[in-house]
Amino acid sequence: MGIYEISLATVVGINIILALGLNMISGFCGQISLGHAAFYGVGAYTSALLAKAGAPLPLAIAAGMISAGIVGLIVGLASLRVRHDFLAITTMGVGFLFLGIVRQQEFLGGELGISAIPSSGFGKIGYLVIVLILAGFVTAFSLWIKRSWMGFAFDAVADDEDTARVVTVDVNAYKLAAFAMGTSMAGIAGGLYTFFARFLMPDDFGFITSITVLSMVVVGGIGSVFGVIAATIILTLMPEFFRFISDYKLLVYGALLFAVMRFAPEGLAGLARSSLAHMRFKTRTKDEVA
């Protein structure tokens, strides 16, 4: 693997953590968020400030995770009263609010961002391994939650929150839990990005990033852990292999989002399921004929 491939793989790993975080909120718990990049940014900036102050990497990333989770909890609390399209607009507003604040703060580097962030000290390969281990951990955690009774309750909240209340589900507590866990994951991704890029710009955490992450979740199939991972890999690598896409990223991702929602609302995971069922059906009918 050359340096280019190593850094691509590192970005894929970071994006998987980021996308699985949004999948926790939007996929599992059914709460749409158009401001996920803001929590990614909170994690990244927290880690960057601590790293520059001399904090070791684990501490800096843990602090990024916790600060993003706390901000996520606050946004979650503020969002409990809004649903659906109103929640989408509220979270989008949070994204712009984050950018607006960061751009004006001297100590966050303003428009110029934060540069000269110390290296992780593990080398490129070593850092890739750390990122992939954390991505594996976040994947395992997502699968665990999906199978647990918490995931069962999330399904109920995502399906119909009023009915969930009638059958004893504490909807607010579950929504807050989803927000806290999902935004903490975004914080981990942000911290990892800080030590990878070693240079932060406010625009790294803008609306385009939020839409990109949302595309990964929707294209993968809302709620499906492996679908989201597959879509994250494809959507992260695509602009690299087809240079022209990165010039029209928002256009391409917007078109993808529209196409998936219109023609395959269950995303890659849904397509895989239905083609699998189709194949089984075909072999079965073949057997019956034979």
Partner: protein, 254 residues
């Protein structure tokens, strides 16, 4: 036989419309109470106010002597109020049996931290299957609820509510949409469950079934309670007859 559910002075206004005007009623432990009245009388609104799904302008609700008027819906449900919907609302991403298993496991989801570490659903699925058998839809247990006929989803509503093991079962037109055989069977099942000790409050338009299985009737009309008592007596009440058959026909008959 004490009072298990005491509902006092419920007033609900939607904008300028008074849906319920200072209505009170109480339900004795083990009783089978039917809430009847013409369309728009406020019956569904009453059950929604009792469970806290809507916020009444004023109301006092006591469940087993405890004032639950200030509690949110999920806490009232935990204390023993189960509600079924007139217009069915199954959890659409789940199979039929999981719709019931979720509520059978309501203790597991009461705290998010314990819900996070609990994985096994088999005990709850076993109990869920019993409830599906009870209402007679166990043959579609593993099927998705999407695309199931109304006869199945209506009974699923009842099974899901029963799995909460409530103190009081509140049923909003459980028989509507069922054919006469299914309706008779489900009302027999509900009557059986009631005989085993569960208190039932049922809204129902099917007067035949109401008179067959109800022990007491509360009649609402235009947001007011117009009668409360044993079925035969209530049905003789001229105000009730007027509300039900309409004043014109009453006059025409006279």
């Amino acid at each position: 036989m004490g009072v298990i559910l005491d509902v006092r002075n419920v007033t609900v206004r939607f904008g300028g419309v008074v849906a319920l005007d200072n209505v009170s009623f109480s339900v004795n432990s083990g009783e089978f109470l039917c809430l009847i009245g013409p369309n728009g009388a406020g019956k569904t609104t009453m059950l929604r106010a009792v469970t806290g799904v809507i916020k009444p302008q004023s109301a006092q609700v006591l469940l087993a002597g405890k004032d639950i008027s200030k509690l949110p819906t999920h806490k009232r449900a935990r204390l023993g109020l189960a509600l079924t919907h007139q217009i069915v609302r199954p959890f659409r991403s789940m199979t039929t049996i999981d719709n019931v298993a979720l509520t059978a496991g309501h203790r597991r989801i009461a705290r998010i931290l314990t819900a996070m570490v609990a994985m096994d659903r088999s005990a709850e699925r076993n109990r869920a299957r019993k409830y599906l058998e009870l209402v007679g839809i166990d043959e579609v247990a593993q099927k998705s609820v999407v695309g199931q006929p109304l006869g199945v989803t209506k009974r699923l509503e009842v099974a899901r509510a029963l799995a909460l093991e409530p103190k009081v079962l509140l049923l909003d037109e459980p028989l509507a949409g069922l054919n006469s055989v299914e309706a008779a069977r489900l009302s027999d099942t509900i009557a059986d469950i009631n005989r085993e000790g569960l208190t039932v409050v049922m809204i129902e338009h099917n007067l035949g079934e109401v008179l067959r299985i109800g022990q007491r009737l509360v009649v609402l009309d235009n947001g007011r309670k117009i009668a409360d008592g044993p079925p035969a007596e209530v049905m003789r009440n001229p105000t009730v007859r007027a509300a039900y058959v309409g004043k014109e026909r009453q006059n025409a008959a006279a």
